[in-house]
Amino acid sequence: MTKIVRALLAAALGAAMAAPAALAQDQLTIMAPAAPGGGWDGTARAMQEVLQATGIVKSVQVENVAGAGGTRGIAQFVRRSGDSKQWMVSGLVMVGAVIANKSPIGLNDVTPIARLTSEWQAIAVTPESKIKTMQDLAAALRANVAAVSWGGGSAGGTDHITAALLAKAAGADAARINYVAHSGGGESLAAILGNHVTLGVNSASEFMPLVEAKKLRIIGVSSAARIPGIDAPTFKETGLDVVIGNWRAIMAAPKLKDSDRDAVAQLVDRMVKSDAWKAKLKERGWENNYLPGPAFAKFIADEQKQVGEILAAVGIGK
């Protein structure tokens, strides 16, 4: 008799234990550690749409926690330990922000799932600029690194990192680059178009409309291979060994059980391989740069090292 009761209890308990794993497919919260409207928010909302439309997850909520380059968001996120229904969008900018803000909590404190997309960087000049090629730029940097002013986004962000890496690769002193930070893409584009800075550094997609209108020229891109539709060499081709993309990734809550982590990775894998996701990437102009599993964890470690070194060189996060 007691045996039967025990067996029943065990079965009920087992069912109760198994239930959360099944529920993971029903609902989900994705944190965008930024304000509505930006790239992380866009990634979270694109995932929400695709996951729901394909039926991979029934109900997805997007939660915005803006501030401090995502470090405010990740600080809240780590409190959701062990909950496989809590995901967060992250990326290169957060790697930089953790270092710059000396945040005690970093990407090592959450569970990496996969890198999803990359946006490549580009260097652009106005048609009347004296700098016509990446070789011109490298020569100008070697002649007087401070005489070249770069117009780009926030200090310590992807644009700043790109500029510093290029200066270093050209053999100039990265610590002395004349990087002029702007609060948003619009403000820096205006400074570039008005010839108030020597050149602009930004994501290639932000430059494209002005390139098509022949108001700007792209002289180099940060990808490993040439980008279709952009008539410019890669940095590497021009002798500057810099490959850097503004990557965005999906992370899960800290301290997940291995089985939960694999389940999350599987959901993400199904999403990335869906036609709806491919259509979404095309619409947004994001390049698919999917990298799951241990390879992604290693990639994060490499990025942390590269970004840490270059930010230290330009004097950020000291």
Binding site: A66, S149, V180, E187, A191, A213
Partner: protein, 499 residues
């Protein structure tokens, strides 16, 4: 002429009943969020993006245009009636607008704000349609040194906002400058005055301070007043519309406000606040009754309210012609364009004329709707002042806290708001003006960042401010505004003593 033809085509798109309805939805939403302190057009549009994505692009831009203008209309309402600007663009309106309301002229203040906004919105939109490509070329000429010089003009201009006591005004201005320093320094990425708090790294939100100082501070202040004496507000006195004298005092400020607001909105660092400061100063200087300013001068409402709406049209110039967003709202609108796979810029006028001209035409229609919506409401809104003060301010406190919390879902922000409320109470008690705090918070960081950019690009050469013609002329204007009145008074005194 070509533009006029295209515009006619645009009206064809915008006057379609479905788009008319969306335009109405937009202006209504805009007016409401303009009235609610804390929630601004940028946030509203961002939150609506996923919803409007299902609509066709023309319809969603008609809504967004309506929201943007509507917010500027609505924010003057709370500025005038309850001394709390709904958006920072209506900060200056609190000074004379609220005095007018206290004297029973709330309907006139609301009407001059609404009509001024309409006039500026229509002229600004017309300029957007006709001269946008030329304006944007001029706007791009502005470099960091020129912006810094423009900020110098603005700093001189705000002297008229400092109130009767220079010492108290400067005290308030410096509180604002100090608050503006908090957070990550844009040029170096270094944290300043953040005390290791993650919540302070992005600085103190300006809306949080505005709501705290004005709404919460006012409520606390009212609570400390003796109840028996009753309110000092005269809800209504005189006709519920503008008198002939008020009309004749308003129309010139409307036009001057437009002339100041549109170009300053179009330059890539202008925004909607800066033109209102300069407009207020201009009106005070030109008025034959400068002593009335600060005590309910209608020009002090008419000019700045026209200026902030014209600036909205100005902000759309670089957005539509170059795809360059120069305000938070414009940045979100750019994201909205991109959501449809559209890229604003020189090519958009060619590839999607229906969209661009439909949007421009709907801005005209939206402005007309806002006028029709707001003029009859002016008398009705003014009746809000009949609500007993404890109830009114209780309601304002609730909405203020909700609005501030809703923006970032941050309890920290609510705490900052409360602290600013206490500061506002103390400042009111000591008769220190509030507006200069916000002016300092807006102008201080802008002036600093432009100064440092200019010097950095010039590799440390300070002459950059006087070798550029735009910068030099602006600095000379600032100097003339600063010492001109003093010299003028001296000269008059000398002439008087000789006679």
């Amino acid at each position: 002429m070509e533009a006029l033809q295209s515009l006619a085509g645009g009206f064809g798109v915008a006057l379609n009943p479905v788009n008319l309805m969306w335009s109405f939805v937009g202006v209504l939403c805009g007016t409401l969020i303009g009235i609610l302190p804390g929630i601004g057009p940028a946030l509203t549009i961002a939150l609506l993006l996923p919803v409007t994505y299902k609509l066709d692009p023309v319809a969603s831009f008609v809504i967004f245009g309506g929201i943007y203008y509507g917010a500027m209309f609505g924010s003057s309402t709370t500025a005038i009636l309850v001394n709390t600007p709904g958006e920072t663009g209506s900060l200056v309106t609190t000074i004379d607008g609220h005095r007018m309301a206290r004297k029973g002229r709330a309907p006139a203040a609301l009407a001059t704000a609404a009509i001024g906004s309409f006039v500026a919105g229509v002229i600004g939109t017309a300029m957007l349609a006709l001269v946008a490509p030329e304006v944007v070329k001029l706007a791009l000429l502005f470099g960091p040194a020129d912006y810094f010089a423009l900020m110098c003009v603005a700093f001189v201009a705000v002297s008229s906002l400092l109130g009767s006591s220079l010492l108290r005004g400067l005290l308030a201005l410096f509180i604002g400058l100090a608050l503006g320093l908090v957070g990550i320094d844009q040029q170096t990425g270094a944290a300043r005055f953040a005390f290791g708090q993650l919540d302070l790294l992005d600085g103190i939100g300006i809306t949080v301070v505005v709501v705290g100082l004005f709404a919460v501070g006012e409520a606390l202040y009212q609570a400390t007043l003796p109840r028996a004496g009753g309110s000092t507000v005269t809800p209504l006195d005189g006709p519920a519309r503008m008198t002939a004298a008020e009309w004749s005092r308003s129309w010139k400020p409307w036009l001057r406000g437009t002339a100041i607001g549109f170009p300053l909105g179009a330059v890539p660092a202008g925004g909607t606040e800066l033109p209102t400061f300069i407009s207020y100063q201009t009106e005070k200087r030109l008025s034959p009754r400068p002593e009335e300013f600060g005590d309910g001068a209608i020009e002090g409402v008419a000019g700045p309210e026209a200026a902030n709406n014209a600036a909205v049209a100005g902000v759309l110039v670089p957005l539509l012609t170059l795809g360059i967003p120069t305000s938070a709202t414009a940045a979100i609108m750019l994201a909205a364009f991109q959501q449809y796979g559209l890229q604003p810029g020189p090519l958009l006028f060619g590839t999607r004329p229906d969209l661009v001209w439909g949007l421009i035409a709907s801005l005209f229609i939206g402005n007309a709707m806002l006028l029709v919506l707001n003029l009859p409401l002016a008398g009705l809104w003014a009746r809000l002042l009949y609500i007993p003060a404890p109830w009114l301010h209780g309601g304002i406190l609730l909405f203020a806290a909700l609005g501030v919390y809703g923006v970032n879902r941050s309890l920290f922000d609510v705490g900052v708001m409360t602290a600013c409320g206490v500061l506002g109470l103390i400042m009111r008690r000591l008769d220190v003006p509030l507006a200069p705090v916000i002016v300092g918070m807006i102008l201080g960081p802008m002036a600093e960042v432009q100064f440092r950019r200019a010097v950095q690009i010039a590799q440390g050469d300070l002459w950059v401010f006087v070798t550029r013609p735009i910068s030099l002329s602006l600095l000379l204007i600032a100097l003339a505004l600063l010492i001109g009145p003093v010299l003028w008074r001296r000269a008059r005194a000398n002439a008087g003593s000789k006679a």
